[in-house]
């Protein structure tokens, strides 16, 4: 049986002024990378705070790594949680080395491991520089290093790649990949959706404090019912000829010239369509399948109000 690292049941958090999240049912299996997407103010950060036990739900129950975050008595389970907040700034006058040492000692982590982490995020050259001299990307990487202290089993990352340059971003995803090999559960909030696609097991879309869609990318594609686009390269002048039979297969032609056809079909008829194209033999030179991107899915779901 797959254990869930995070389980939320009917969780709501209402402030006097606004309803931050409402009726959230949501679970993340152990070792899964779940992407949490949604507009600003959709309730993602509140959800993270609930999971971390920083705020208490108005109604509903949570279980994080088998603990109720409300239990102040069992603070030690937080050893197994790493958190990278969206906006954090540390003491300006402390050096990177002092800061990581401080957080390491709170988690009972040995010094050599904290230096290893600083090396891993590429800050070993800036260890003795004061935090105020760090660039935005370096600050973000220091934040990431502290989140990885103490071998976490659950990582909560709020906009981890903001401020990172493309190389550092790539490096960040490498680190994530390694962590996943160790079976770390990761919940990640991000606006940069396309980069996430290759890595995520599941996506949860939030809107106005509710979960509007949750599941694997395939599930979401089916749920969204967005048509599948195919770009077909054919022999010169043959596109007209095959257009009609394709339309008979319930495909919509979106664009066409002598050598290319762009068609859309329902995801469910994908295989029928491919078989049909196969039967056309040498007329078809190439088929390019364009899966619905996370951006498109996000656009579909984030327009929906909570169900």
């Amino acid at each position: 049986m797959i254990k869930n690292s995070i389980i939320l049941e009917n969780v709501s958090k209402h402030y006097p002024s606004h309803k931050a999240v409402t009726d959230i049912n949501f679970s993340v299996p152990e070792g899964c990378l779940m992407a949490l997407v949604g507009h600003n103010g959709a309730g993602k950060t509140t959800l993270m705070k609930l999971i971390l036990g920083l705020v208490q739900p108005t109604t509903g129950s949570l279980s994080i790594l088998g603990h109720n975050p409300k239990d102040q008595a069992s603070v030690t389970y937080r050893n197994a949680i790493g958190f990278l907040p969206e906006n954090v700034s540390f003491d300006a006058n402390m050096t990177g080395k002092e800061l990581i040492a401080f957080y390491a000692s709170l988690k009972g982590e040995i010094k050599s491991r904290s230096l290893e982490l600083m090396d891993m995020v590429g800050l070993s050259a800036a260890l003795n520089r004061r935090y105020k001299t760090y660039s935005k990307g370096m600050k973000q990487r220091l934040g990431l290093a502290q989140a990885l202290l103490g071998k976490p089993r659950l990582l909560l990352l709020d906009e981890p790649t903001s401020g990172l340059d493309p190389a550092a971003r790539q490096h960040f995803y490498d680190i994530i990949r390694d962590l996943r090999k160790d079976g770390v559960t990761i919940l990640l909030c991000s606006h940069v959706l396309t980069e996430l696609e290759a890595q995520t097991d599941a996506v949860t879309v939030m809107n106005s404090g509710r979960v509007v869609a949750s599941g694997s990318l395939e599930d979401l594609r089916t749920q969204a019912g967005l048509p599948l686009s195919l770009r077909i390269t054919v022999q010169e002048g043959m596109s007209e000829k095959i257009a009609q039979p394709l339309q008979n297969q319930n495909a919509t032609i979106t664009n066409m010239n002598g050598r290319y056809l762009e068609i859309e079909c329902a995801p469910s008829s994908k295989m029928t369509m491919l078989r049909h194209l196969g039967e056309l033999g040498s007329i078809v030179e190439d088929i390019e399948l364009q899966n619905t991107s996370l951006d498109q899915l996000y656009a579909v779901f984030s327009d929906q109000r909570g169900q």
């Binding site: 705070k49 971390l52 920083l54 705020v55 208490q56 102040q72 603070v75 030690t76 389970y77 937080r78 050893n79 949680i81 958190f83 907040p85 969206e86 906006n87 954090v88 700034s89 540390f90 003491d91 006058n93 402390m94 002092e98 401080f102 957080y103 000692s105 709170l106 988690k107 502290q146």
Partner: protein, 276 residues
């Protein structure tokens, strides 16, 4: 306990780094020295210990300055970190909120103690060297000044924490800190004095007035230093009060300890219930 110590050390390191300790020590030392060598000039050649005269004038000045230093040190200790976002992160660590409050308080108390001991201590040492008549009694009085200054400072640190936990913005905290300072250092005494003048000694017994003073950490400190020793009491013109011994020194010490522990416990309680 280890966690509390880790947090305290970080505060201490930060204060060393941003030269807080140096600045506060220098300020206190300059103050003490100028009082000792300039302020005691009018005493002339009378056979009065320079050290004890200095203690009397210093305690009057400490009452103004040390609460201000303490409040400035503590007003943003919680709300500042909440605003920066580092509190949010800290709370996700295996640490409970009481440990954060106590750790920070311990760190700030250490900072204050170091500054006081360095500042007043250095001045006391120089006075002892120059006035060849510093005896055991002088040193005793002077060290009790240092100890009670630390107590006074801690009480205002504790009040500063309470402010810092209650407010949502740093700007509010600094405003309240100034208000608290004005209240305890100036307004409280004026109110008591005003009440005495209006009353013309009819209803207000001196016991009661003395008792009122315990409701102000600054006045408790004054009682402690100006009436604690007969010699300083004589110098400060408080001998009539001290002679009657209406309030034993222990009361002032207990009052100060209360002013340290109660606001701190209350801020710990409020902080542990607050949602960040």
């Amino acid at each position: 306990m280890k966690t509390i110590w880790i947090i305290a050390l970080k505060e201490l390191k930060d204060a060393l780094r941003n030269r807080w300790i140096i600045a506060a020590s220098c300020l206190l030392a300059v103050l003490a020295l100028s009082l000792a060598f300039v302020g005691t000039a009018p005493v002339g050649g009378a056979k009065i210990s320079t050290m004890q005269v200095t203690v009397v004038s210093l305690s009057s000045l400490s009452v103004f300055l040390v609460p201000l230093i303490s409040l400035m040190l503590s007003y943003d200790s919680i709300v500042g970190e909440v605003e920066r976002g580092s509190m949010l992160l800290l709370l996700t660590y295996p640490i409970n909120r009481w440990q954060i409050i106590f750790g920070k308080f311990l760190g700030h108390t250490l900072i204050l103690s170091i500054a006081t001991i360095l500042g007043y201590g250095a001045a006391g040492f120089l006075i002892g060297l120059s006035s060849n008549g510093a005896n055991i009694q002088d040193w005793l009085v002077f060290s009790s000044l240092i100890a009670s200054t630390v107590l006074l400072g801690s009480a205002f640190l504790s009040i500063g924490y309470l402010l810092s936990v209650c407010v949502k913005e740093r700007a509010t905290a600094i405003g309240l800190a100034v208000a608290v300072w004005l209240l305890f250092v100036l307004l409280f005494d004026m109110a008591v004095l005003g009440a005495l003048v209006v009353d013309q000694g009819e209803n207000l017994k001196s016991d009661f007035v003395n008792f009122l003073l315990l409701f102000n950490p600054a006045d408790s400190f004054r009682l402690l230093n100006l009436t604690g020793f007969d010699s300083t009491a004589a110098l400060s013109g408080m001998s009539s009060i001290a002679g009657r011994a209406v309030l034993p020194v222990q009361y002032a010490i207990i009052a100060l300890l209360g002013w340290i522990s109660l606001p701190l416990l209350l801020s710990g309680y409020l902080f542990s219930r607050r949602e960040i």
